[in-house]
Symmetry: D2
Subunit: 167 residues, 4 copies
C-alpha cells in the first residue's frame, strides 16, 4: 500500500475552502485504500484525516501524525497513530522520509520547508494549484539544478487520484 | 487504546527462547486490542510484531516501527506502519515518547538507552525477568533518586497482560 | 550580536564568484569579531570559514560546523568546532536555532529549507542579491502572513557588516 | 586536538564534592589543551567548564554546550559555544558522536543513556569511581557482548590525564 504524505497549513492559515477541499481529498484517498502521513496537527492536516475517517472504506491505522512535541496530546482527533518525535519542526523531514509520494496544498513557511526537503530526498510532490500558497507558487518549477520535474501541478482531486494510481 | 512500547535486542543478540517468547507475547497483546510501537527491526522487535499479525484479532496499523534510517527498507515484514526517522539510535526517544507503557526483555546497550530515556520521561517499564540482559538486571531497581518504582519486574505473559489491563 | 549563521550552496552548486565572495565575507566577519555557524561542508560554507581563518583577527572556535553525519570526518578543513548531529538535513534547524542572525547567498533546496526554518523561528536573514538562487529570489519577500520583513536584501559585504553592527 | 566529552549529573544530583572535582578536572583539561563538549547545563557540566575557563591556558571556543532546547538561554555561563539542538534529551547522542573520548562521573539516568550510546558508537568512556552513580557502577563492565573493555575505571584526575595523553 502506498503511503501518501500530506502537507499544508496549520489552523491559523487554513481557509474554509482549503479545509473543505482537504476533507473531500481525505475521503477519496481513503476510498483508494492508501494511508496518510502528515504533521498530525490542525488545518489542512486535520481536514484530510477527518475526511479519511468519514469514509466507510477507512481502516484503523490509516492516519499517521508525526508530531513536533514530546507528547501526543496535540494530535488532531482524526489521527489513528500519533508519533511524538520531540524534534520540533525538524520532524518535517520524517514525514518526507516516510512518504512514498506527497500532496501539498496552500502552504506557508512550514510547507515550504517540507517541499524543500522532499526535493532533496527526490520525492514527487503533487502541488495543488487551487489555493494561494507555496504549493501553487512552486508547482511546475525546479528548486535547483540537481533534480527536475518533481513538483507536479494538479488542479483537481481527480487529477491527484490519477497520479496516485500511477505511482 | 493503549499504545505498548516494546524494546529488546535486535537479531544478533536475540536467543531462540526470547524470540519465541516475543511471538507469544505479540499474540496476546493483539488479542488484548493494543497497538505495538517498537524500533521496527529484527530480533525481539520482529518477534512481537510477528505474533501480533498471526493473531486473528490483529488489525491494520497495529504494529508501528520507528526506524533509525532515512528509508523504510529495513523494517521487519510484520510492521504495518513504518516511520523513517533518519535519527539513528536517537530514535529510541521517539519510541519512549509515543508509548503509554513499555515492555522490556533481554537487552543490550540499545535497550539500556531506552530504559534510561523511559525513566527520564516517567514512563513505566515492565521488565521481563526470564532472560539475561538489562531488562532483568534493572527490574525493581531505581536508576536515580528522581523517580521511584517505574521499573516493574514481571515474570510471565499473564503478569504483563494484567499490568496492561490495569494501566 | 555574536553568532552569525551562514547558509548557501554546497560544492556542487557554488560558483567561483560565490566562493570568492564567501572568502572575502569570512575575512570581514572575522575582523568584526563574530563567530560563524554553518553546515560545516563545502562550497559557500567552506569559503566563509576559509576567509575567517585567513584573517589575523581570527580566534580558535570561531568557525562552527553543524554536520549532517554521525561522524565529523566530512567537515571542511577550516572548521574549528565540528558537531556530528547524525540528524541528516534536519540539522539545518540546529543552525537556525543557534544563530543570532543569518546570512544567505546563492542557494538551492537546502538553503531554501533553512530560510523557511529561519522564518518560523523569527530570525532575520540577510539575503545577498548578487548571485542567483533562493537568497536572491526571496530577498525582501514574505514567506507567509505570520511574520513580516525578516528577509532583508543586501548587495554588498559593507551592507552586511552594517547590519551586523546594528543588530 | 582531541575533543573530550564530559558527562555527569545536572545541578539537582551533583554533590559539592563532585562539583569541586569537576572544577579541578576542567582546569587540568584546559592545561592539556583539549576542548570540552558537554550537555551545556548545570552541575558537573558547569563545573568542568568553569574550571577550564579559570585556567590561564584556556582559549576561546574551548567549552562547547550541546543543549536540549531550541534556544541557547539555558547554557551555563562558562560555555563558549552553545548549540541549540531542539532535540531534547536525544541530544545526548550528538555529544557522544562529536567526542573523541568521554569522561563520566556520578550519573543518573541521563548519564546512563549517554554511556549506553557511547557503547553503541564504540567510544571509550573513562568512568570515575570516586562518586556514586552509573559511572562508578559500570566502570570496568561490559554493557553487552558486542564490544569489550570500553568502560575504563579511573580513580584520579592524574589517571584521566594519562589516558587523554595516550588517546
Amino acid at each position: 500500500m502506498k503511503r501518501i504524505g500530506v502537507i499544508g497549513p496549520n489552523k491559523s492559515m487554513c481557509s474554509k475552502e482549503l479545509y473543505d477541499f482537504g476533507v473531500e481529498l481525505g475521503k477519496r484517498i481513503a476510498t483508494a485504500d492508501r494511508s496518510i502521513i502528515c504533521g498530525g496537527l490542525g488545518g489542512f492536516m486535520e481536514a484530510v484525516c477527518k475526511g479519511a475517517k468519514q469514509s466507510d472504506k477507512t481502516f484503523s491505522g490509516q492516519t499517521i501524525g508525526i508530531l513536533p512535541d514530546e507528547v501526543t496530546d496535540n494530535a488532531n482527533p482524526f489521527i489513528d497513530t500519533a508519533v511524538a518525535t520531540g524534534a520540533g519542526i525538524a520532524r518535517n523531514l520524517i514525514i518526507v522520509n516516510s512518504a512514498d509520494i506527497i500532496i501539498a496544498a496552500g502552504g506557508g513557511a512550514g510547507t515550504l520547508s517540507e517541499i524543500a526537503f522532499a526535493w532533496q530526498k527526490k520525492k514527487t510532490v503533487l502541488c495543488v494549484t487551487l489555493f494561494d500558497g507555496w504549493a501553487k507558487e512552486l508547482a511546475g518549477k525546479n528548486l535547483d539544478s540537481r533534480e527536475n520535474g518533481l513538483l507536479i501541478p494538479v488542479n483537481s482531486i481527480d487529477e491527484i487520484l490519477k497520479h496516485l494510481d500511477n505511482a
